[in-house]
């Protein structure tokens, strides 16, 4: 165990999997000589060479498509996109090919592809809406490492979200090369009995801060970090809601049609009789992200907003 950053945890996961399996390779714009747009692949080119750490043209559609083809040809590609925004250029390959190939082949062909996407906009709902894709949204450095290793070993295509504001966050991370975090297992990061706050990615930190503030007003909040959105661990969520009777979904996606809408709907379906109040969402304003820092903070879901909604529910 060591205290390392989220960025270093990802870098460790990549090194360990490159060591473990010759078929694993990384490609993307800036991953080699530049060490990654966010320096996640720093140092890898020197160790593994140009064959396994490949700088590519700025062709997001074709890099993702080539990842699909390489995966079908027997390799385990990790594609790094500069940001999640670039995923939109590759949407045809992600939705029409990667997500469907296993199914349309009658289960005969697999696409073991990892698309690493530094997250500026919160576009996870788009990918949640494509059956066949796995969607990972780690918040903690240990989960970033453990889930990236799981993603690389998986037979399915994975969109792996890395929130840009988390790269510098530190945490305890195992250095055991066999360490991995299973997908579809949410984590209760804070136990409580009055209200359940379901969160993922950056919002987990906000949910924990909100829970600490709520404790001052004698409200005992439970915080659940989903860690992956597909598979979605509703068992853990529903169990918690049955205990607390109240739920808030906190996330940075837009409110309308966001992942929170799906989670709230599933809570209502599975635990309606246990609810003392409708499930609430704390999400981003339905507006493109404004530029100025003050306005950006206004548009994003805040700790104060989570606190306020929790107080209203109780």
């Amino acid at each position: 165990m060591a205290q390392i950053t989220y960025r270093e945890a990802l870098n460790q996961a990549l090194r360990e999997e490159l060591d473990r399996d010759e078929r694993v390779f990384i490609m993307g714009k800036e991953v080699g000589y530049f060490g990654g747009a966010f320096k996640v692949t720093e140092g890898l080119l020197a160790i593994y060479g140009e064959k396994r750490v490949r700088d590519t043209p700025n062709s997001d559609l074709t890099i993702v498509g080539a990842g699909i083809g390489a995966a079908m040809g027997g390799l385990k590609p990790i594609v790094e996109l500069t940001t999640i925004d670039s995923d939109l250029l590759a949407m045809d390959q992600i939705v029409n090919a990667a997500a469907k190939i296993h199914y349309v082949s009658g289960g005969k062909a697999n696409v073991p592809l990892v698309i690493r996407a530094p997250q500026s906009q919160s576009l996870e709902a788009y990918f949640l809406h494509a059956p066949g894709l796995r969607v990972f949204v780690p918040a903690m450095p240990a989960d970033a490492k453990g889930l990236l290793k799981t993603a690389i070993r998986l037979a399915d295509p994975v969109i792996f979200f890395e929130h840009e504001s988390l790269y510098g966050v530190k945490g305890e991370v195992s250095d055991d090369p066999d360490f991995a975090i299973p997908m579809g297992k949410a984590k209760v990061v804070r136990e409580g009995k009055d209200v359940t706050i379901v969160a993922y990615s950056k919002s987990v930190y906000d949910a924990v801060s909100a829970a600490e503030m709520l404790a001052h007003s004698a409200i005992d909040a439970e915080v659940i970090d989903l860690r992956t959105l597909n598979p979605l661990d509703m068992t853990t969520v529903v169990e918690s809601v049955k205990k607390t009777g109240r739920a808030i979904v906190a996330y940075q996606g837009w409110r309308t049609g966001g992942a929170g809408a799906e989670i709230a709907a599933q809570i209502h379906e599975a635990a309606f009789d246990s609810l003392d109040a409708p499930v609430a969402r704390v999400a981003s304003l339905d507006t493109p992200m404004p530029y100025g820092q003050h306005r950006e903070i206004m548009a994003l879901p805040s700790v104060a907003a989570i606190v306020k909604v929790a107080q209203r529910l109780i």
Partner: protein
């Protein structure tokens, strides 16, 4: 003449393969009209010399990445007619267990991938990367229509394949139409093989109604790719005898244009050559016709008698991994 020549038995095999594609399509068109086959079926009649000429140049281990106009390519790649027909019927015994129909057949055992339009080019490029990475002997043939040239994926894939010198051959079936849109309205450079030059790869235009010409061009490009010399582009000029799909009849095309192209029917051409230049007996070709028809009738019977996919399995192959 090039070093790649064809003997009589090879020519007869090309004839058999093209006849299979044509008669298979005529059969499914009839079944579609009768409501036995539903959904979307893209048609290939007239273009057989391209798929058959190119794919017959390959070894079985080589890869073909095709478009949604692909069951012809799939048959040319030696898929069993029974499995292809049963798939069109949506049956459990189909090549994709009735999950796909005629849109993007994917069969790793056949080394065959059907993709959507220009979407196949990036995937084929990645397959070629996998071959190069694993130092394999295989080559990827990526077959697509002229409409793919108006998509960005064409530029990106040829650019990347050239930078990495990948073992891939890009084969464009130029049939002049993207559904009903004439090529004038979709590509500024109508001599499509000229697109090879800016990507620093060899480019040739061949008569896509002549299966031997296509075969020889494919063999040449294959030799280059196999030898590590990188990608090439082949433009095969051809013509689709029917509409783009069963739901898009080509009623707007000039009758005269169609008649001119039908006179250049690749199967009739090869038939005339086999009878004339090679002195093959008419009875030999008639026997091939009958054998092909019998295999298609057998495929239809097999498809009709096959079970539907059990409803409770339809949601089960969405993911390869459990959790």
């Amino acid at each position: 003449m090039d070093k790649h020549t064809l003997d009589e038995s090879q020519l007869l095999e090309l004839f058999r393969r093209m006849t299979l594609l044509r008669r298979f399509e005529e059969k499914i068109a009839g079944l579609y009209v009768r409501g036995k086959i539903t959904g979307h079926v893209d048609l290939y009649g007239g273009e057989e010399a391209v798929g058959v000429g190119a794919i017959c140049a390959l070894d079985l281990k080589d890869y073909v990445v095709s478009t949604y106009r692909q069951y012809g390519h799939c048959l040319a790649k030696c898929a069993a007619p029974r499995a292809v027909m049963a798939e069109l019927f949506g049956k459990q015994t189909g090549i994709s267990h009735g999950r796909d129909g005629a849109m993007h057949t994917v069969d790793p055992n056949l080394h065959f991938i059907g993709a959507i339009g220009a979407g196949g080019l990036p995937i084929a490029t990645g397959l070629a990367l996998a071959v190069q990475y694993q130092e394999g002997p295989e080559v990827v043939f990526c077959i697509f229509g002229d409409t793919a040239l108006s998509q960005g994926a064409f530029h990106e894939a040829l650019n990347l394949a050239s930078i990495w010198k990948l073992p891939i051959v890009f084969i464009c079936e130029n049939n002049f139409y993207g559904m009903g849109t004439f090529i004038d309205n979709s590509v500024c450079q109508e001599e499509l093989y000229r697109f090879a030059e800016p990507y620093k790869m060899p480019g040739v235009r061949v008569d896509g109604m002549d299966v031997v010409e296509v075969y020889i061009a494919a063999k040449n490009a294959l030799s280059l790719a196999r030898a590590g010399e990188g990608p090439s582009l082949i433009e095969a000029v051809t013509y689709r005898f029917r509409g783009a799909s069963m739901s898009n009849p080509a009623e707007d095309r000039a009758v005269r244009e169609e008649r001119i192209w039908r006179e250049r029917d690749p199967i009739m051409n090869l038939r005339r050559r086999l009878l004339g230049e090679h002195g093959v007996a008419e009875a030999t070709l008639d026997r091939i016709d009958h054998e092909v028809d019998a295999s298609i009738d057998d495929a239809v019977k097999f498809a009709e008698e096959s079970p539907e996919p059990p409803l409770d399995t339809l949601g089960k192959t969405v993911y390869a991994s459990d959790h």
